[in-house]
Subunit: 432 residues, 2 copies
């Protein structure tokens, strides 16, 4: 089953907004084992949407269109699909009532334009809309199909997951492309893709040697820039239970191999971010955190407060960009401020000034110029942790100013995470 | 002249990386007055790249392919273009020498694979590569043309600007699509797109009423999310001097209209960010800055230190996420901490603790829960500025936690920028 994505919207062609929908769909189709060989973007023009759809249907088995389902005259994906299907649009009264009720619930009358969102090409089915007003569409064309989903990302994602993917799976089953595909992502930080691939080559060989066919697991590596390398496990099995058990077993194997060589290099599974991993390691140990930053300039703190519920464990931070602030506020002793000693003193100062159990400090040179004779890309992380003591780690980060700052911030968070793993969890400390 | 963009790379289809090149090209083609009706993405597969190219050439006048020019067997854009042109590839010895010398300069021998990067379809011209190893290609096909540029963004952007756009312009001139198109972006913050459009409707009508044809100016509005609304002026004229003079005159008109109604709503031109505008307003007045943040959690500080040379005017920040930190470190008096009084006390505390001339404070509720009985999306900005005194501003921000934080941070920076504009500049304070 080959699925082509057609993103609709003149603003995409003009570069006014990024086409995040095609990327999201590409990633989720791949994780579901569905092939996608072409993507297109096209403007809000009926004739050209028709051209894009015909092109897609000629070279793919299914098409997902995103966007152009709104209420205005610019929104013409429905009309274009009806033209390609050679059928008229028919107004679906149940959908009109639903949209009318939605507006009524907000104390407003439905604008006349919104009734257009209830237009359905004859022979197509609607996908109920649960977050906005425009329903989606499932439009059969011979043995092929066009799905139409809204361009608003959270509406599109919900509709894809609930209706498009199950329908695709049913079609795949009908074509004899049987089975269930599940995937799981193990997120690592601090190791290169090639090092992970080398360590896991034995697993990849073992998986390749297993009986080929409908049941099995594959491993893939996805570089995610500053957020580390993802190891994606994809399992195919006759049922969800079998696929899930395969994933569990392979995750166990991968964790054992990586742990033996690299320690706690896996910081999370699927959507878990580094700051969420840090938050969890603090909460389960009943600890609060204060940070002191210079070159990262607030990046570390702003990542941490992005975790909902951060106020339970995050006390705050000091951005000591000027050296004098390091001395006066944090009590860093006179001397070089880009040093391991200064990083540890910043961590100690953060604990004291912010009244936190754990202190994390980071100092360094983001560039482009050297500072105190220290080259750009040099950073030192300091930690002050009850039951562990004080420690520091030196970093050498390649790249430009922004990369040095981002890499240093996540490195510091990872050092904190790994250090906390050595401390026992506190019974009952984790409430959520 | 209709240009289609074809992005090449399996990683794009799999959603492993975002297709930033198509967006960048779309934006820059539009700014140059070149139409683009379709974009495609295709994987590293010769047959499918050929399909994508033929599709593009059937419906567009020119094609820009990005990616697939590397040295490995996966990189087959050259082969696919040659197939579409029905010509063989020929090795360009001058390019082989150039790549060999590049490796030699790094003390390495050129790997044999890299010689593939010197392969050129017969009849095509190379575009010299100034940042990497792969040259670009200009490949004529009848009256149409395929440009091939690398997928590495900074290589692609440099090559597009230096070679592709001038070649496109020459072809447009040859087709009678004469003239020079220049554009300029005025960046605004704090006003809606519809309000700007209403205020500038008179200008738009006046421009529409001017003699239509090869010479003229158009206005467009581009929403840029949290970074505000851009007003793009595009001028077309017989020469660069004429187009530039048209832009200058229209910028003057637009500034006059907006200033009369909205004050200093324009914070910068083209690539200038809000933090750069703030930096400039501080530097030209010889002032240093310290910030105190709670809900923004370091976002404001990290935006400020992203400006190169920030150490000349940025002293640092205090992230007072816990209320106790506001009292103990910043000296905020006992009482509610989500209030105008607390925001001003934070600004005052930032000046004192960080030894800064100007203090900026921000407090509020990011959500999802209320705090102190205050609803999510409520924020207060406080300022303490020599020669102005202390002032505060209340904000009501719609949206989720992340949006509230980002919107609050840029709002606070904008208040600081506008307040500083009332202070005289210091002669000689601006060195750069």
């Amino acid at each position: 089953m080959r699925v082509e994505i057609v993103a609709v919207g003149t603003e995409l062609l003009l570069g006014q907004i990024a086409d995040t929908n095609s990327r999201w769909l590409g990633e989720h189709l791949a994780a579901a084992g569905v092939g996608s060989y072409f993507h297109q973007a096209v403007g809000d023009n009926r004739e050209r949407i028709v051209t894009a759809l015909r092109t897609a249907l000629a070279r793919s088995d299914a098409v997902i269109t995103c966007g152009g389902l709104g209420p205005t005259q610019d929104d013409i994906t429905r009309e274009a699909i009806a033209e390609v299907m050679h059928v008229p649009l028919e107004r679906d009264e149940a959908t009109v009532r639903r949209i009318t009720e939605l507006f009524a619930a907000r104390g407003r009358a439905m604008p006349a334009n919104n009734a257009r969102q209830a237009d359905v090409p004859r022979g197509a089915r609607t996908i109920e809309q649960r977050r906005g007003t425009a329903p989606g569409l499932i439009c059969p064309l011979g043995g092929k199909v066009v799905y139409a989903v809204p361009g608003v990302p959270h509406e599109m994602e919900e509709m894809y997951t609930r209706a498009v993917l199950p329908d695709l799976r049913a079609r795949m089953a009908a074509r004899g492309e049987e089975g269930v595909i599940l995937s799981r992502v193990l997120r690592t930080w601090g190791t290169s893709e090639s090092a992970l691939a080398e360590l896991l080559q034995g697993r990849i060989d073992a998986l390749d040697a297993a009986i080929p066919g409908a049941t099995g697991v594959t491993l893939a590596f996805l570089a995610s820039g500053i957020e580390g390398i993802k190891v994606r496990l994809t399992a195919r099995g006759p049922t969800e239970d079998v696929a899930s058990a395969l994933l569990d077993a392979e995750e166990h194997e991968v964790r054992a191999v990586l742990h033996a060589e690299l320690g706690d290099v896996i910081f999370g599974v699927d959507g878990v971010s580094m700051e969420q991993a840090v938050a969890r390691s603090l909460v389960t140990r009943g600890l609060t955190l204060g940070v002191a930053e210079s070159l990262t300039g607030g990046l570390m703190a702003s990542r941490l407060v992005a975790v909902p519920g951060a106020s339970a464990w995050f006390r705050g931070g000091v951005v000591a960009y000027d050296a004098a602030v390091k001395h006066s506020v944090l009590g860093v002793p006179a001397g070089p401020v880009v040093s391991e000693e200064a990083a540890v003193a910043m961590a100690r100062g953060a604990r004291r000034v912010l009244g936190a159990a754990v202190g994390l400090g980071i100092t360094g040179v983001a560039g482009p110029d050297s500072q105190e004779g220290v080259a750009p890309g040099t950073a030192h992380v300091g930690l002050s942790v009850p039951g562990v003591g004080e420690l520091s780690r030196a970093l050498r980060v390649p790249g430009d100013r922004q990369r040095v700052r981002e890499y240093s911030a996540i490195s510091a968070l990872d050092l904190l995470r790994r250090t906390l793993l050595d401390l026992p969890e506190v019974a009952g400390a984790m409430s959520g």
